[in-house]
């Protein structure tokens, strides 16, 4: 697997790169890098409404991405955005503005990424809607509190898998209960799609947001899947080329398919690159990798605890292989920098989840997150890297 990823043969500070910052972004296989170079070297043109050969190839390449998304995730509608964040903002504007009234309730959780909090806080200010947060207890959603909080809710926004703790929330239950009270459901699936196969229709959610760059695809592109019902309730968000049917000085009419929400020249090369990533992923057995990585991460977790670290991730059987931890005295930044000196890339900080950090009573963690190309040798290097840090700081 490692040989598919050119960056993994790079040396950092003279050491073999051990990349454990996958929850922030994943690395790209050669086929993705090559697909984009090839696009720019052979087929680059603006898409839609053009008859020349390059424009045809570019349109086909870009739209292939949408087709693959619909097929992989079993969805009738796949709107292409610049990432998870824009996808969630799109829901807040295109659906929220026209379907939520003053006094309506949106239910979030304390585990959300900032990208699934701030758009709702901004909407709440514009429309005087009420925000409620499902509390986190012992690192998991308090499902009893969820049931109580659900009363009278119009929209439930929940992170499928936490980028801080790797927790996979019981989203099947959450969706079923939400549907029971007639609420629409948005899944922040940024950390879910890299780790498990998902069937959007079967899940029964209304919106699902995710980014290409966290699943071996390029930066600058992501998607929002939308259910048939919710799609019909959405008004345009941004205006411009490609999303209109007709424009006159008096007013405009809009496209009726996904293009209605994709104003301007789309992310063409990015679509081509993501399509290559989706093809590549379609040959990967995510479930067996999930088991393999979780078992490696569990071993690492035990060692970290034995070495005196506080570990916040519980790593249950469905959780992603993400380990957030702190050391009683060593500052996370010093820790991460001393690991980097050994070629080991981990992330520190609040991971764009300050409310969760507040709940855990800390300002940040060190986070090691594993992905497909990581193996036991990476875990071993990481652990001996930790030992060297502990010695140096003793």
């Amino acid at each position: 697997m490692k040989q598919d990823f050119p960056i993994l043969s790079r040396k950092v500070n003279g050491k073999r790169l051990v990349y454990l910052d996958n929850a922030a972004t994943t690395q790209k296989p050669s086929c993705v890098i090559d697909a984009m170079s090839e696009y720019y070297s052979l087929s680059n043109a603006n898409v839609h409404r053009a008859v020349h050969t390059l424009a045809g190839e570019a349109t086909e390449g870009y739209e292939a991405c949408r087709k693959l998304l619909k097929k992989r995730f079993n969805s009738n509608h796949a709107i292409i955005t610049s990432g998870t964040t824009e996808a969630i903002n799109l829901v807040a504007h295109a659906w929220g503005e026209s379907n939520l009234q003053s006094g309506d309730v949106v239910l979030l959780t304390e585990m959300e990424h900032h990208s699934d909090i701030v758009p709702w806080q901004m909407l709440a200010e514009r429309k005087a809607i009420e925000l409620r947060y499902v509390p986190v207890i012992d690192g998991r959603l308090d499902m009893e509190a969820f049931d109580v909080a659900l009363d009278g809710v119009k929209l439930v926004c929940v992170v499928h898998t936490s980028n801080v703790l790797g927790i996979r929330n019981p989203i099947e239950k959450i969706i079923a209960a939400s549907k029971n009270v007639g609420a629409r459901v948005l899944l922040d699936a940024a950390q879910a799609v890299p780790h498990e196969e998902m069937d959007f229709k079967e899940l029964g959610a209304d919106f699902m947001a995710f980014s290409a760059h966290k699943m071996c695809g390029p930066t600058g592109i992501g998607a929002l899947l939308v259910s048939n019902d919710a799609f019909g309730e959405m008004e345009p968000f941004m205006g411009g080329g490609d999303m209109i049917e007709t424009v006159t000085l008096q007013g405009s009419t809009y496209q009726t398919n996904e293009h209605k929400f994709e104003a301007g020249t789309p992310r063409i090369a990015e679509g081509v690159g993501w399509a290559a990533a989706l093809e590549w992923l379609s040959n990967i057995d995510l479930e067996s990798h999930h088991k393999r990585l979780l078992s490696i991460a569990s071993g690492v977790k035990d060692e970290l605890i034995a070495k005196g670290m506080t570990v916040y991730s519980t790593l249950g059987p469905e959780d992603a292989a993400v380990i957030s931890f702190t050391h009683p005295t060593i500052h996370p930044e010093d820790f991460a920098r001393l690991l980097d000196a050994q070629g080991i890339a981990v992330r520190t900080g609040h991971h764009c989840a300050q409310p969760l950090m507040n709940k855990l009573g800390i300002s940040g963690t060190i986070r090691a997150s594993f992905y497909l190309y990581n193996d036991q040798s990476d875990a071993d290097t990481f652990l001996s890297g930790i030992d060297r840090v502990l010695e140096a700081m003793a």
Partner: protein, 137 residues
């Protein structure tokens, strides 16, 4: 493969052409095979949607036999309508419903046109079949 001898001849003709320009010239020649839909009959219902040029198609089934009339402002679109007319006019409804748009691909017409246009062909093809399906119900 469910197409007629007439269609097979067309496929052979297209496959014999090396140059794209000539292929398009031949395609435009097929515009003469269209029974032209008079402009008074152009309306929203028989408009080909998603096509960049203005194109209309009307399909009739008389005693089980299919007949289409069409028109388009771009000559190549009318050429595609001509091909379609050869494929369906005079056939039975059942034969038309068994057709697939593969023959255009086989002839090298679909992939020689850009996707938006080949989709235009697919759209017209689907429109004809849907109309036939509705008319025989």
């Amino acid at each position: 493969m469910t197409w007629s001898v007439a269609i097979q001849e067309i496929i052979d003709e297209f496959q014999d052409i090396d140059e794209q320009f000539e292929r398009l010239e031949v395609l435009m020649d097929f515009s003469e095979e269209v029974e032209v839909l008079p402009i008074e009959l152009w309306n929203e219902r028989n408009l080909v949607k998603g096509c960049q040029s203005i194109a209309h198609i009307v399909v009739e089934v008389t005693e089980g036999v299919v007949w289409m009339k069409a028109a388009a402002d771009a000559k190549m679109v009318q050429g595609l309508q001509g091909l379609l007319s050869i494929a369906v006019n005079g056939s039975t409804a059942e034969q038309v419903l068994l057709l697939t748009p593969d023959f255009a691909e086989e002839a090298g017409i679909l992939n020689s046109l850009t996707p938006s246009r080949s989709n235009g062909f697919r759209t017209m093809f689907d429109m004809v079949q849907n109309n036939v399906r509705m008319l025989i119900q």
